[in-house]
Symmetry: C2
């Protein structure tokens, strides 16, 4: 039985490893080693965390209590096959990989999936970030829960199937909105306008969600079914045909759900918007 996990090897040196590594170090955990496939990343993170590193999976420190896998999903398998674990605790941070990916590799394994987007360049407070945990036995689950609760006040048990759904929804809540910001920036830059103009709008749109459900929060021509504006926008976008198509596609999707009878009962369609 593992009661405490004080010595940790970070398997991966990307954005998640960086943010979790710092959080754990600040909580008094000992990061004993950083593994990365690329020397540059390994050196960068290990020097930031003031620890050793390796790019050779055979040289992984085998005395640690816990191995925290923060790799791209398709990077986990090759590492698992080459490293030899016995009863060390293996933990991955993936939204999509099942817990069972560790089966046969160790007697003790778990998942700690942070529902968050990580960029190395952007500081981040992990305290409110939902951490979804799962483990192959109750002892490990309790141990991981203790560690997770030190990192965040928002720890939940979630099985692999639900976690996968949550990860999919997170794509819609994060990557897709960010792509819309990117396209907005592109539209503005074509006309020499500054993206900063949209920053208060972006922040307000996100923070609305804390108070109002997304259906009630929606504004804009597609929600109002203002065909004149939609057609004018499509005309403006005629030289950016890919963005024009996306405008149509997303607007049609907004219109389709606007008319959904299931939602009409509590609709609150705004009279005027940005």
């Amino acid at each position: 039985m593992v009661n405490s996990l004080r010595n940790i090897v970070l398997v991966g040196a990307g954005n998640v490893a960086t943010h979790l590594g710092f959080a754990l170090k600040n909580l008094g955990y000992q990061i004993t080693q950083v593994y990365s496939r690329t020397k540059k990343s390994a050196i960068r993170l290990s020097s930031l965390l003031d620890t050793g590193y390796t790019t050779n999976i055979n040289l992984l420190d085998n005395r640690a209590d816990l191995y925290l896998f923060c790799l791209k999903d398709d990077g986990i398998m090759p590492v698992l096959c080459r490293a030899s674990f016995t009863n060390q605790v293996l933990v991955h941070t993936s939204g999509t990989l099942p817990l069972s990916v560790f089966q046969g590799c160790s007697k003790n394994y778990a998942v700690l999936y942070p529902v968050q987007t990580f960029s190395r360049l952007k500081k981040l407070d992990l305290k409110g970030v939902p951490l979804c945990i799962e483990a192959n036995n109750p002892d490990i689950l309790a141990t991981i829960e203790t560690m997770a609760k030190e990192i965040s006040g928002n720890v939940l048990f979630m099985d692999s199937d639900k976690r996968k759904i949550l990860h999919l929804a997170a794509i819609f809540a994060c990557n897709f909105p960010n792509h819309m910001y990117f396209l907005a920036e592109k539209i503005l830059s074509e006309s020499g306008l500054n993206f900063d103009l949209l920053k208060p709008l972006i922040m307000e749109t996100a923070s609305k969600i804390l108070e109002i459900d997304p259906f009630s929060a929606q504004t804009g021509p597609a929600m109002r079914e203002d065909q004149r504006i939609i057609e004018e926008h499509l005309r403006i976008l005629k030289d950016l045909p890919d963005i024009q198509k996306l405008y149509t596609f997303v607007s049609d999707s907004i219109s389709a759900y606007r008319g959904s009878p299931a939602r009409r009962t509590n609709k609150n369609i705004p009279e005027k918007n940005e």
Copy 2:
């Protein structure tokens, strides 16, 4: 020449009229009347602002200095045709209507377009909101600028053509991300998961934009070209074919720009994401 505009009629009683009406009242402006096509809206806002109302355009208070039009775009024309103005200042708040919509209606007219999304149920501080102004003569422009600067510290001159582009970009920065939140909520609710799980992610995704450009901020399977995860997500969405199509469409758009040579020079593709 108009030096000060202290008496204001609000033409419209929706979200924009509500937020601007409160801001102006708090600044010491006199809202003399609220006009709305619907009695319910007129009564609601006029009682909130403690002023008179009318639903009859012929009974519009003709002694005000300024008429602030906060209507749906296609609502402005009918109002203009029926009201008789001489040299009162007419101001609209639309992103897409040109300044010239007021031509022939009065000697003095202007635009004050707030780059923001307004919901009645969500409180909003207008101080940092970009206000784009334009007028048909320098005196009115100066007068509107004075008023706008009382409302917000972020006032810009912008002509009708650029304003229209900015409004289009605002759809991408606001309505489209909000629709993605709506779809995320829908995906979660199908599995009994709570939308609250995504709120820290949504806020972080938006606030990243204050520090990192949207291209560098992007994470996720489409950015990493992780085809295994994308296919798994499409499989999960097989019973929601409309959302499945949208997932493909937006992911393809992310992938297409990922490979854009113009952007590759300063790319910072994340190793791992939510």
